[in-house]
Symmetry: C2
Subunit: 148 residues, 2 copies
DNA sequence: TGGCAATTGCAAACGATTTGCAATTAGAAT
DNA sequence: ATTCTAATTGCAAATCGTTTGCAATTGCCA
């Protein structure tokens, strides 16, 4: 049984350390983005991140740039929930962030699904088609109890 | 074993009949779009559809409108392959069009994966979270033999 | 504390998709 | 066959998420 993706919520200092180790500058904006992601363990769009930044908010372009940076370092993972909007989640310290979601078609509520099923199938798919380095992207859609 | 999604390639008259039955008008543009989809059994973007329209081409807006119409009727299925571009495939006559893809990260080549694995898991996911009407969206990514 | 490269904000550019509107056209009615 | 009308089209402009150029600012090393 895989550990729950959100069982470990890294502290902010740990996070900035990770940044520093990659020789990236610790700016207020980046800390704010990390802080926002840390406090909302669900996929967040750039705008959602921005709206959760406390004081003097930060330019959207900077948020996009921060998220890309963090994604490149592997500190956040990008998810595609079907609408045309990129969403990001903080990745645990040792985790690779791979998991899935169950999204309500009505209210867009998101449930994190931590078990990963088709991992075993990747090898089969890869072998059958001569592909290498096969990964997958899987999301579930349905209607949540409150909307039903 | 599920029937291959593309084992049956409907004839154009059959397709326009389906449209007519839905009391939609049979226009040259719509036939052209259907024709293009029919001859390329892989997910196609609006632009790809447009570039495959034979003679006097058709406005992109019209292609978008046609694809939406056809999707609403259930004649085409929309797929999201990870780049920000909607792609569509023609749905067989009795099929619901549900299947998956294996996409090359380098050249964007697409292999159709006709078996569907997580269908059984939908019920489990639904039950565990109180959701109803659960479906899923699954795509595989890797590097194809030619790019490797 | 100074200096320079990295980072930011702002506005403009971008690509995919949508929309308003006037002109065209498919198909039912005559 | 011709007429009529609502559905459909093309075109251009609008929208939305995201990216980029550039000048001003700022983190961090010396």
């Amino acid at each position: 049984m895989k550990k729950h993706s959100h069982s470990v919520r890294p502290q902010l200092p740990e996070l900035t350390d990770r940044l520093r180790r990659k020789s990236r500058r610790i700016t207020g904006q980046r800390q704010a983005v990390l802080h926002a992601l840390r406090n909302h363990p669900h996929p967040m769009s750039s705008k959602e991140v921005q709206s959760r930044l406390g004081s003097g908010d930060c330019d959207l372009a900077t948020i996009y740039r921060s998220l890309h940076l963090l994604e490149g370092i592997g500190m956040v993972k990008r998810f595609d929930l079907g609408d045309g909007v990129a969403r990001y989640e903080l990745v645990g310290m040792d985790d690779d962030g791979h998991h899935h979601h169950l999204i309500c078609r009505r209210c867009a509520d998101v449930v994190e699904i931590d078990d990963c099923f088709p991992q075993a199938l990747e090898k089969q798919i890869a072998r059958q088609n001569g592909y290498t380095g096969v990964t997958h992207r899987l999301e579930f859609f349905g209607v949540c109890p409150r909307c039903r």
